[in-house]
């Protein structure tokens, strides 16, 4: 085992996959000579050269579309968004091209593409730079959406994403890049897409979260434990397709479900989870399913206001106490 940061884990994943397959290349703003806006691609230019680690102009629609075309032709691009907030100018390319070409062509063309980069709020960069876009892309049937919370999952899932023959939105969280954790350093370490992971066991209530919200849920669980409330915390890891069975097992044990997601509430992924659980596990539930989400308001710049808008520990604890009443 090695203890490394999320940033290093992502870097290792890309380096190993580029080593393994000549068709894998990395493209994005500042990924090469600058070593990445968040240093995720540090050293890759040196290792693989400018043919495979490519600085782009500030042209998200252009280079995302280009990578979709290249993937259609048989390459396996990794595209880095400086942040996912900037993916919006490429929305058409992601939704209409990456997301539809395989189906519209009757299955003739695959799009083995990974779009990745940072996301999320809490850094006081204001409304345009703080998006959590997992819902937007999870709404596109052919897109896979992954949001890792720990370095080991980041590495293993990114490697799986690069090997997938389908387009993957790999949504990292800016606040987690420096987060350290244990990552296996032997062999080919892959984490399966579509599987959640129990990060804390408990029997009083089930907390389902993703990305940075997993850490918020874990912190809330520690607080609750002081009062004898044992929360089970599931890190969903993949938003689409998500691991219903793991949630079902946990809810069958705890009979209470609180969903924690940073994205805005309206039609967020938690709404889908809540729907599926009430539909299929109605009799198991002893309390209404409750969601703790980002608030339905643009992200404020002010620090205290922004903290209030995020699904913070206090709101999670309040939600748990509510469903336990």
């Amino acid at each position: 085992m090695q203890t490394i940061t999320m940033r290093e884990a992502l870097n290792q994943a890309m380096a190993e996959e580029m080593e393994r397959d000549e068709k894998v290349f990395l493209m994005g703003e500042e990924v090469a000579e600058y070593d990445g806006a968040y240093k995720v691609s540090q050293g890759l230019l040196k290792k693989f050269g400018p043919k495979r680690v490519i600085d782009t102009p500030i042209s998200e629609a252009g280079f995302v579309g280009l990578s979709v075309g290249a993937a259609t032709y048989g390459l396996r691009p990794i595209v880095e968004f400086m942040t996912w907030s900037f993916s919006l100018v490429a929305f058409d390319q992601i939704v209409n091209n990456a997301g539809q070409i395989r189906y519209m062509s009757g299955g003739q063309f695959s799009v083995p593409l990974v779009l990745r980069g940072s996301s999320g709020g809490g850094l006081q960069v204001g409304a345009t730079h703080s998006h959590t876009p997992e819902n937007w892309y999870a709404n596109v049937p052919a897109l896979t959406v992954i949001t890792p919370a720990f370095p080991d999952d980041a590495k293993g899932l990114l490697k799986s994403a690069i090997r997938s023959n389908n387009p993957v939105c790999f949504i990292e969280n800016e606040k987690l890049y420096g987060f350290k954790g244990e990552v296996p350093d032997e062999g080919d370490f892959l984490v399966p897409i579509g599987k959640g992971r129990i990060r804390r066991e408990g029997s009083s209530v089930t907390l389902v979260a993703n990305s940075a919200s997993t850490h918020r849920a874990l912190a809330a669980a520690e607080e609750l434990a002081k009062d004898g409330i044992e929360a089970e915390v599931i890190d969903l890891r993949t938003i689409k397709p998500y691991d219903f069975d793991l949630i079902a097992e946990s809810v069958a044990k705890t009979h209470r479900l609180v969903i924690v997601e940073e994205n805005k509430p309206y039609a967020g992924w938690g709404a889908q989870v809540a729907y599926d659980v009430q539909r299929r596990l109605f009799d198991e539930l002893d309390a209404p399913i409750t969601r703790v989400t980002g608030m339905d308001v643009p992200q404020p710049y002010n620090g205290r206001m922004e903290q209030a808008v995020m699904p913070n520990e206090q709101r999670i604890i309040a939600a748990v106490r509510d469903v336990l009443q």
Binding site: A71, Q93, N97, Y103, M104, G106, S110, R163, Y242
Partner: protein
Amino acid sequence: MSSAETKSAPQKGSSLELPPAEKLRLYRQMLLIRRFEEKAAQAFTQSKIKGFCHLYIGEEALGVGTISVLQPDDAVITAYRDHGHALARGMTPKECMAELFGKATGCSKGKGGSMHFFSKEKHFYGGHGIVGGQTPLGAGLAFAQKYLGTQRVTLCYLGDGAVNQGPFHESLNLAALWKLPIIYIIENNEWSMGTSLARSSAGLPLVNRAHGYDMAGLVANGMDLDDVRAKTAEAVALARTESMPTLMEIRTYRYRGHSMSDPGNYRTKEEIEKHKESDPILLYKARLLEQKVVKNEGDLEKLDEEVKQEVQEAYDFAEQSPEPDPSEIYDDMLSPEDQIPEIPRGNYNHF
């Protein structure tokens, strides 16, 4: 002549003179597109074809001429007015008509429709419905061709209305910056739906947009098959030998409305009639007779009958073909074979 036009690709000296049989083949292709589109129009009015149906009538020499100078494994990508390119690329009238009818035998298994024809076998990368959306994809095909060292080139078509989409400008910049073997072809038919070129675009002629990106620019007369071929051959040679992109503006005209649902009231009859005087098929026909490629008009009439027969067979085939089975609705969305273990897929629909 604009400065972009003069900055044209070097002539590669390849003889474009075709043997008579080849000339006849290209003539037949243009005729096939015309008759196919006429049949499609008829089928649309019979409600056998639904949705949008954009016809290529009047623009045949453009599609046939440009594609005729390609190798079979060069890449072609275009917008929604794609029937002509598909047929010129050698896709069969049967699979194309069946796609229009939404049948399982269609080139996209009935899942794409008129605007979304695809054929991996023919290196035809679609058929794209969002105006300008295909232009970065074209750059990506060319990027991959270069990355893999294939010596192949990409033709990417767009309309005169699409030139004002941001992604097109991003694509031109990327193509020039990274020296991609691509030829962007503006099919300037003077109208984007009901908006004339003069009302949509500054900085005419459109080929001028090449020089903002330090790219070769060429203009061709899209009603003249030989001119289209000569200019496209220059651009293809530049892409293939030096991996340099070109922007072409090919001037053409569409005789019909924007789509089958457009009566086209924004144009005068006189305007349309004037353009029909330089009809690409009639022009080439006169040339075939003058060059004695065929003995007399009777031979060409026989050919026309043969083409009509082929189109009728395509129509019958489409009509008799089965609908896709509803059980296949989820098929083709995700790659069935993968380099990783199968991902369990949720079902988010309970009814």
